[in-house]
Chain length 316, copies 2
């Protein structure tokens, strides 16, 4: 059985293999992804976004358990704000999800935000496509939600849960406001902490001030993920949003908007990779970089020359 059919049949090792090949920028893996794409679009994508320290992994852990009890197959894409250098930190964080390690219907994939130039967003889009074709009913994307790439990724989700915790500093409040735009559901974790009430009131106030461009009222849940408290209510809220979305009169437009973001992310990453590789293969890169460094050439002119090549005609 080839790798595509193996993935469609739900073979875990085939899915893991394809993801590794995608990491290696293997062109044959992209070819498989293209074939798999027709089999995607079935999974429900759930974004979990919150600042560092909000307890995202613990909450995701609770959600996995909850969805598994309903018999759903779960995929997780955890975007770690870490580098290969800090492998230990990733591992420590992920260890909490290890209780699901032996569950064949749970697939967890960590993506580092560092690494090769470009590609976080594309990698995320790729992994979502693989998990979707692989038969996952629900795919959870866990992100810190700062940085433009991450916010774009969150927009791919059908339902975006934005988390916070009581007692974070002013900067955190700024982030909270910044990602509020993407929130379909709001969660305050560590609700037993001092200041939970103040945070609750702050968020309620912000939600009231927010202009409503839809008839979805953003609900606000207090949870204690480490003790599993409030999770059932949150899951019910997620399901309610799903129902709302699927029966939305503009559901088709909503999906098109997600496809637009997905397309943009793929184009951004693939075009850059191709252009850069091209410059490298033609052996021009060292000279160009030296000239830029010496200010006898500017990066904008190099980009323009590459764009000129794009202006040729071809149909898609």
């Amino acid at each position: 059985m080839n790798i595509k059919d193996a993935i469609l049949a739900g073979n875990v090792r085939a899915a893991a293999k394809l993801m590794r090949r995608l990491d290696d920028r293997d062109e044959s893996a992209i070819a498989i992804l293209k074939e798999l794409y027709a089999h995607t679009g079935r999974a429900y994508i759930l974004g979990i976004t919150g600042p560092p320290g909000a307890g995202k992994s613990t909450l995701v852990d609770c959600l996995i358990s909850s969805f598994r009890k309903k018999g759903l197959r779960v995929g997780v894409v955890a975007i770690d704000p870490t580098s290969p250098f800090s492998g230990g930190a990733i591992l420590g964080d992920r260890l909490r999800m290890m209780q699901h390690a032996n569950d064949p219907y749970v697939f967890i994939r960590s993506l580092a935000t560092r690494g090769a130039m470009g590609g976080l967003s594309r990698s995320t889009v790729d992994v979502i496509s693989v998990l979707d074709a692989f038969g996952k009913d629900i795919i959870i994307i866990e992100t810190v939600g700062v940085g433009q790439d991450e916010v774009e990724i969150a927009r791919i989700a059908h339902t975006s849960v934005v988390m916070t915790v009581p007692g974070l500093g002013d900067d955190i409040q700024a982030i909270k406001a910044g990602i509020m735009e993407i929130a379909d559901i709001y969660v305050i974790n560590k609700a037993d902490r001092d200041g939970a009430n103040k945070t609750l009131m702050d968020i309620r106030l912000m939600l009231e001030m927010k202009e409503h461009d839809s008839d979805w009222q953003i609900p606000l849940y207090l949870v204690e993920a480490s003790r599993g408290k409030g999770i059932d209510e949150l899951v019910a809220g997620i399901e309610a949003h799903r129902e709302y979305l699927f029966h939305h009169p503009n559901f088709r437009d909503i999906l098109a908007e997600k496809a637009r973001i997905q397309l943009a992310e793929v184009i951004k990453a693939r075009l850059f990779e191709a252009a850069w590789q091209d410059l490298q293969q033609q052996g021009q890169l060292p000279r160009i970089i030296e000239q830029i460094s010496q200010r006898t050439l500017d990066p904008y002119s190099v980009a323009d020359a590459l764009i000129l090549r794009l202006k040729g005609q071809s149909s898609i």
Copy 2:
């Protein structure tokens, strides 16, 4: 006087005008940027990176005062993890820098990490180039340091200061480890807080464990930015790193690496913008997005078609 000459002559309004035009993706602004590029490369670029709540703005405020006392002209690019939606948050944060608002030799520019698709990195590169040509002796880039774009941007700096504060959660520690790779100097702010000693020891341990690929010993400073404590020592440390760098036997290679990142960021953003605009102008985008949404077309094939156009021959 045209805008280019006005900027080279240090005209604040001309610089602000060009930045606004760059925000609007005005092609004539890019043309000016190309001309200005030959006049860049003089500014010293200082990155200040740290998690939300670390007190970056307060520290930057202290640094501006310190550099101004030395007669240096200062530019600041503050990358806010916020959206246009949370204008209040940006403003509140920036208010602390207002004491410099009437100083004609301080130019502060906030960039939101949200906004149009793509472009944070390019915008940052653009603003740095304008400030550099504009005659700033030192340009401070303030970032949260999570997200790939941000880490790439930090690599453009000549000296990268990584900040933390005592008593942040585990996730923050992960970030700290992740951005440690880019640190030339380490700062613990709010050193009067409980747990400062533990944080100090943790970071010392990490620094000792880190493989040394250079003969620069990363110093660690305890500061209380809100009271101006420890700033002189930090500034001396920044100057020591500058000296180290400028007398480094591989100084030329170090600058070339920064030029490489700059080039990559510009190509990434400009190529995507051009390709996307092209698809829009040809009126193909709605059909393509609809087909992707319906899974009768995949985004990888669209990217491939665009890449094929790139494969034509042209010289730079």
